[in-house]
Point group: D2
Chain length 164, copies 4
Amino acid sequence: MKIAIVYHSETGNTEKMAELVCAGCALVEGVEARCMPITAVDETYVVESRAVILGSPTYEGSCSWQMKRYLDAGAKGLAGKLGGVFASQNWPGGGGASFAEMTMIAGMLVRGMIIYSGGITKGQPYLHFGAVSRRAPEEELYRERCVKLGENIARKAVELFGDM
Amino acid sequence: MKIAIVYHSETGNTEKMAELVCAGCALVEGVEARCMPITAVDETYVVESRAVILGSPTYEGSCSWQMKRYLDAGAKGLAGKLGGVFASQNWPGGGGASFAEMTMIAGMLVRGMIIYSGGITKGQPYLHFGAVSRRAPEEELYRERCVKLGENIARKAVELFGDM
Amino acid sequence: MKIAIVYHSETGNTEKMAELVCAGCALVEGVEARCMPITAVDETYVVESRAVILGSPTYEGSCSWQMKRYLDAGAKGLAGKLGGVFASQNWPGGGGASFAEMTMIAGMLVRGMIIYSGGITKGQPYLHFGAVSRRAPEEELYRERCVKLGENIARKAVELFGDM
Amino acid sequence: MKIAIVYHSETGNTEKMAELVCAGCALVEGVEARCMPITAVDETYVVESRAVILGSPTYEGSCSWQMKRYLDAGAKGLAGKLGGVFASQNWPGGGGASFAEMTMIAGMLVRGMIIYSGGITKGQPYLHFGAVSRRAPEEELYRERCVKLGENIARKAVELFGDM
């Protein structure tokens, strides 16, 4: 089962999150995951994926305009897929990342996706709306969150779509 | 397969939405749906349900405090279930219902639910984050949205959980 | 006192809202208001303005990526100014316009603006987070909302900054 | 000039934030600030205040139902006042506090308030939508944010209303 992680990153922080999310997906048997920046999306791979996870830096309190442009104009084949989100911000809390996650979730719902994070039900670290990191995920907590998001989404995708 | 519609209603507007959402669920073969106000939730039924749909009036731009209290303190057994939302507002657009829907979705994600609406991918009327009505759903558009939300959630629940 | 209305419009719907917001501002003595699309912002005029009102269509449940790009990368001199918002959507409620308004408000707060709508305290039609219209503001309610937003922001700007 | 800080706190974390916000207000000459829990609001003082700052813990990704109840049913005399927000969460980022702040801001706009934080325009630490702390504000960053929010709101209130 394929899972696509589509991210926007200028400084490399969100890209590092994407790699950890990808590693988290790969912990689940039968799952193949691939990261791709929104400037080089492999549309065929996205269409073939059963889950798509979007990641963005937080700009002015919501997801970056580049990620918004992807959601508005570029994203193809998202309907019916499982969706998850992650966001970097420059501060430990209060930088708007939770709101940025909700902006992506809003667009993904409109596109017919099924949104999941696992929230506080899959053990610590808790995820709430998705995975958030202060800048690049260097501290253990932020690294674990990214891995957990990938793992939660991959396990849920296998559970929901494994027999299809 | 059981589906629970849990709503808060003071004027009866959101209750009428709930009944139409329930009727929409019942259009799908094999689905049993039941409406219940947050003051009289059948917890056993909720726990046995594969999908839970929450509905609230829009108060001060977000879901009512009564619905928020249910999400904060009362809701049991939501993890892993499919979730959907609906909201009434007093105005045709601009009354905050979309934001109210996102408040409920935020809480449902934290509780480990899988959120779905169908968005703009299941034909008209489009749903975006869920079903919105101006006051009681008397106009055809508002009635159809409620029914469609129920139907979309029920079909998706059968698709995802039908074999489990 | 100058007020700038900066909008993004592809179909012309949001542009028509902008013109009505502008007309509402002009109802207030001593106020000069000007509309400008984000593709042709008069930066000098914006900097000289005491209030800036932003308008966008609702795309995928939030403000358009073009408006987000303006907030992320283009907007200059917003700090300390009074801010207001308006949004068009394709549906009477439930199209995400309230959430789109909040996305703009998030960015405006980060940029140091002071946000105001008047909400439900300035008589009908009520505004909540700003002015919302279904497509172009053809129905009386939608037209009145746009005018009211302009008038509320202009009156508040004169009240707050009139002596400065 | 009076400023009221109205907060909800169960564990005492948000209360400690409130005290620091209050201390920040008191740094500004001519300002008298007072903290009060939503269970014991001094309504006369709130009505006499030119600014009201609301603080809440983050529950299930938005402000607590108790704070929502205050906004829905209890808050009096907020129209026309300057407003600010703060929120505690259990995690350094990703706990939903930014979204919780936006829930309060939504209600405050509906009630006719003028919302301000100062965002990233008043030096570090940046505030974005308001002040966020992980649990009680023990780390320097979180303490400074609370003080800065109070100071920003108080300075702006004096600037806007000082001559009235």
